[in-house]
Symmetry: C2
Subunit: 272 residues, 2 copies
């Protein structure tokens, strides 16, 4: 598809509005929902790149075409492509590597094992936690889970419960729910076999890439069951971290409720 059908554009028509028509229509049909009809060129390019990411044209960890290739594909200057990529890189959807290319971000190679886990030990370096699977079953979504995942009530979901341990000491009790349709074949054995972060499994085996998450954090008192699993006294104060994770197009694909034992760890956050 040609972005700029007006052949004289480069010389005479720098206005983004002048050429926004055809592209804007194409965007309106994308799964991300209707976009403003008129937008700067680089925003339109960004939307096109986003669409290619969403459609899986480029896979996580793989390079996207070079800036020059994209510029000629979209019939815009390299600088315009660059600005679009800049924003996607700032949103952690792409990763630039000088001399090598621009790559689709992946959970498969992040140095920080846990990009989304903000728990840190009070003393010492980053957390090194072991996983212990407690449960994995298929069920029908409760009203709450269905609402969080934007599914019809009663839809099949996968429910997982697990522990994260710092040596012998349980630190996190995670309950999470996934849309059953997107995670066909996910079961206890799959999870048992898996070494590594869940989001890496989701990405490599189920083509579901988490790109963003929202958390609601509270202090709660441990129930008897939770206390037993985390080896604390019933009623002890725990951090409740309720997370909704999203993939492309702001589609929620995971609901997770973590209970953190914060005697020797804390949740770290940076405000700026």
């Amino acid at each position: 598809m040609s972005l700029a059908q007006n052949p004289g554009m480069a010389e005479t028509a720098h206005s983004p509005r002048a050429d926004a028509g055809p592209l804007a229509r194409a965007e309106g049909a994308a799964a991300t929902g209707p976009l403003p009809a008129f937008a700067p060129l680089y925003q339109q390019i960004k939307s096109l790149l986003l669409r290619s990411l969403q459609l899986g044209e480029w896979q996580p960890g793989q390079p996207i075409p070079s800036e020059m290739d994209l510029a000629s594909r979209f019939k815009v200057s390299q600088g315009t492509v660059r600005k679009a990529i800049d924003e996607l890189a700032a949103e952690n959807l792409l990763v630039r590597r000088q001399g090598k290319g621009t790559f689709v971000a992946t959970h498969a190679e992040e140095k920080t094992q846990y990009r989304f886990l903000r728990l840190a030990p009070d003393a010492g370096g980053p957390a090194q936690l072991q996983r212990r699977l407690l449960d994995c079953r298929r069920m029908r979504a409760t009203a709450e889970v269905a609402a969080a995942l934007q599914l019809p009530a009663g839809e099949p979901v996968v429910e997982v419960r697990r522990l994260l341990l710092d040596g012998e000491r349980p630190v996190v009790l995670d309950d999470l729910w996934l849309p059953g349709a997107a995670f066909k074949g996910l079961d206890a054995e799959t999870l048992q076999r898996w070494r590594g972060p869940l989001y890496r499994l989701f990405e490599s085996e189920y083509s579901v890439r988490m790109i963003r998450a929202e958390e609601q954090i509270r202090a709660v008192a441990a129930s008897a069951e939770e206390a037993a699993l985390l080896q604390v006294a019933p009623g002890a104060a725990l951090l409740s971290v309720e997370r909704r994770s999203f993939t492309y197009g702001d589609r929620p694909v995971e609901l997770r409720r973590g209970l953190y034992q914060t005697d020797r760890h804390h949740y770290r956050n940076v405000l700026s």
Copy 2:
């Protein structure tokens, strides 16, 4: 000060290293500490802008010179200045307004009253909280407070305790410590008179601008005193939010410990 003393630079020497010498020396003398001797031009411009902000050459809420003015002052192109400003704007130190100019960020006009308060009601819009001052006294820093504020032990500090209330209901109990030297004259009466966020007071009356903060979040059990103030049962689970706030040059200028009552509110965070 001229950034590029080589008069032929604009025409012949686009290499950032070729002209980094004089500027790099100037940077090394700045309060932000030694910087890498060689850096891209726009990074050097960014450092110069940062220095002007730190020295108060441009005040919060006021416009900085236009991109063209800065370009001619530093003898670089407008695009290079632009990239430096872009980064400072991304860090929330500057605010760009099309058609008006670029302004030094300020706490005095943020729509979100509370840029740093992440507490949100479970239902309804953003929090609207009343302040109630409980205590304000001058004291000598404990070892812990001194370490957090990077002061010698025993240095004078201001200790403040206050409540934030949602209507009749206490929601936040804040204890905070400030370096006494930087906040001369701050006392209970000053705080009583003040309407508005503390950071706005700090900025306008004491020329201390918070630009960044780090938080450590835990779940704790309410002490008898805390429980009484927050009108919860002793031992109830509360969110403990320990915050260190920084001004230019990563200098810590506030230690704050908030206890949040999270029955009807939650701490909101976004991961990306």
